[in-house]
């Protein structure tokens, strides 16, 4: 009898808790989805090979028509900022759970769902284009999932000789005769942050004030992020003329591995890190 009483009590407690959680109008956390829209201006990018008619064409400020066959970039170090300034980091030290490769050819990568974002009103988002130097070591042991995703044969976001990740990989064609265009960015820094002994840091921290307060709670909002690749050649920092000669002071086509000018492109799409913290990115809308 005593046992039975206990049993009933326990069941009652369990039911009580269950009812709590299911009736609760104020969940403590919910998902936030980042929706990446890769565009030239307001036109969504359609990829295509050299002679594709379907591919979205763009003309740079320098008058060069161009289109892309591949558009890939790494997003990591995501932080949502509340109205009171509190920063909510999203697995910022864990590439497996907090970083992603956005790949225009794979629609599923254009939506990045962040789970368990604490309820609240958010007014700003920060994220990294690329991988912070302290995590940028192609460390398969620590982050096997991200390592594998980034290194897949159809993704190729490992920068082996630098033992870091490629941050951006753009392949395409330019001018009316469709010369090859190829841009890869990545960091080559050695040493500790603040005291690098050599190399360039191609990681860019992006900060965007949200156009509408994003409320996490009952709703699981979507933040629509536009990545306007018109900035690639016609950015805030530089107007680039693509060349295929040996004139290295102009830029580095067809391959930016030789990029004396890699940082020009990095500053155009990721900001210069001082006056421009958005580069090609903007938030077009928030769906609460």
């Amino acid at each position: 009898m005593k046992n039975l009483k206990k049993y009933i009590l326990s069941a009652a407690v369990v039911v009580a808790f269950m009812s709590c959680s299911s009736d609760d109008n104020n969940p403590v956390a919910n998902n936030v989805t980042l929706e990446f829209n890769n565009t030239f201006g307001d036109t969504p990018i359609v990829l295509g090979d050299a002679t594709s008619n379907a591919a979205t064409k763009n003309t740079s400020d320098a008058g060069q028509i161009h289109h892309f066959e591949e558009v890939k970039y790494v997003i990591s170090n995501i932080r949502l900022i509340k109205a009171d300034g509190t920063e909510i980091p999203y697995h910022v030290n864990d590439l497996d759970n907090g970083a992603t490769v956005v790949d225009q050819s794979k629609p599923e990568t254009l939506s990045y769902v962040m789970s368990d974002i604490p309820a609240g009103d958010y007014t700003e988002i920060k994220f990294g284009l690329g991988v912070r130097s302290d995590l940028n070591t192609l460390d398969q042991i620590s982050f096997p999932t991200f390592y594998e995703n980034a290194g897949a044969n159809d993704t190729q976001m490992h920068w082996e000789w630098g033992t870091g990740y490629r941050f951006t990989k753009l392949e395409g064609f330019y001018d009316t005769d469709n010369k090859q265009l190829s841009f890869h960015s990545g960091s080559t820094v050695e040493g500790e942050e603040g005291a690098y002994t050599q190399g360039v840091d191609a990681y860019r921290d992006i900060t965007i004030v949200l156009p509408t307060t994003t409320t996490v709670g009952n709703s699981a909002p979507t933040i629509n992020i536009k990545a306007d690749f018109d900035y690639f050649l016609s950015g805030e920092s530089h107007t680039v003329t693509l060349v295929s000669t040996e004139d290295i002071t102009n830029n580095a086509t067809p391959s930016a591995h030789t990029a004396t000018e890699m940082m020009k492109f990095v500053e155009n799409i990721g900001g210069n890190g001082t006056t421009d913290h958005t580069g090609m990115f903007s938030v077009t809308s928030v769906e609460n």
């Binding site: 082996e160 000789w161 033992t163 080559t188 040493g191 050599q198």
Partner: protein, 341 residues
């Protein structure tokens, strides 16, 4: 029945014992004394954090020669870094699995402990950071560190050796990197004829070698300085340019225009055995290389001032070339190359 229960109790007791008070196994793994040659430059400071040990070096050597480091188990470090070639090879550019051809000439692995920059463009500053690069590079071994660890874990002798080398830590990525670096730190070449002449060990230069040494001091030593025969600077000396669009020389690391097609000055030690020469094996022989420098190099904005000041060439007479090559051959270390016991 009672007996059985007692036995089980005993067994449980023992299991309890062995898990509760495991005596840490102590591994004896003495540090090896590096035989640092007189007048060599300072050690790379990383050496002090990864001092070669008896089992570390043994493990590193075993890994260096192990083809399991490549995806299809066909090549090892030693496939491109061959002792008789001063741990370089004779291909213009490195050849990886399935005959894939890389970007650059495989550099000799010698006197690494005294280098401050590794590879043609100096992208690595610590030797421990280097082994992963060929393991994962598509044109080299095209594997991954977890794939390599997976293979090594099937071999008990490796598990034992890793434990001995790194205090029972088992097979780890860092153990792979550190042990290979430790082995390479021990690859010191300092017993050439040149060294023996310098140390007054009874050898003397022939007339041609002595004249070559004089030419060297007059026309080469400003870059090929120190007892390593490199000042470890990065220079563009107007060699034919690698047509591979991936190539940018040192600028690939720094992003600076002035570093375009600059490469680390290579050591001249054992150069007799490291043909072909240049960052992608542009020159089949030392004669070809000296002829090129004599005839005139490619113009470039950042061409080394020494060449610019000399009409883009290093003028050499036919006799000077013969003597220079005779001198360079005195830098061959037959002991290091494994030609002598």
């Amino acid at each position: 029945m009672k007996k059985l229960i007692r036995s089980i109790a005993f067994i449980l007791l023992f299991i309890g014992c062995s898990t509760d008070d495991t005596e840490p196994i102590t591994y004896k793994n003495p540090e090896l004394a590096l035989d640092i040659p007189v007048d060599f430059p300072e050690l790379n400071s990383s050496v002090y954090n990864n001092m070669p040990t008896q089992y570390g070096v043994e493990l590193g050597e075993k890994l260096f020669f192990d083809r399991q480091l490549s995806a299809d188990n066909t090549i090892s470090c030693s496939s491109c870094h061959i002792q008789e070639s001063a741990f370089a090879d004779h291909n213009p550019k490195g050849i990886g699995i399935e005959g894939r051809i890389g970007l650059r000439n495989a550099p000799p692995v010698q006197n690494m402990a005294f280098m401050q920059f590794y590879n043609w463009d100096g992208n690595k500053l610590q030797l421990e950071d280097q082994p992963l690069v060929p393991i994962i590079t598509h044109e080299e071994m095209d594997s991954s560190i977890l794939e390599v660890i997976g293979k090594l874990e099937t071999d008990p002798s490796y598990i034992e050796l890793f434990n001995k080398a790194f205090e029972g830590e088992g097979i780890t990525a860092d153990g792979i990197y550190n042990s290979i670096a430790q082995y390479e730190y021990t690859l010191i070449s300092s017993n050439s004829k040149y060294d023996k002449v310098k140390r007054n060990e009874g050898e003397t230069f022939t007339t041609s070698e002595a004249q070559g040494y004089a030419v060297f001091q007059d026309k080469c030593i400003s870059c090929h300085s120190t007892e390593l025969f490199t000042d470890q600077s990065f220079r563009n000396i107007g060699f034919p340019i690698n047509p591979d669009p991936e190539e940018g020389g040192r600028t690939r690391i720094t992003g600076l225009v002035e570093d375009y097609m600059r490469f680390r000055v290579p050591s001249l030690r054992n150069i007799e055995y490291t043909a072909p020469y240049g960052s992608f094996g542009q020159f089949a022989t030392l004669e070809d290389l000296l002829d090129y420098l004599d005839n005139g190099v490619l113009e470039a904005d950042n061409l080394d001032p020494i060449l610019k000041d000399n009409n883009n060439r290093i003028p050499l007479t036919a006799q000077e070339k013969i003597d220079l090559i005779a001198f360079m051959k005195t830098l061959s270390d037959v002991e290091f190359l494994g030609f002598e016991d």
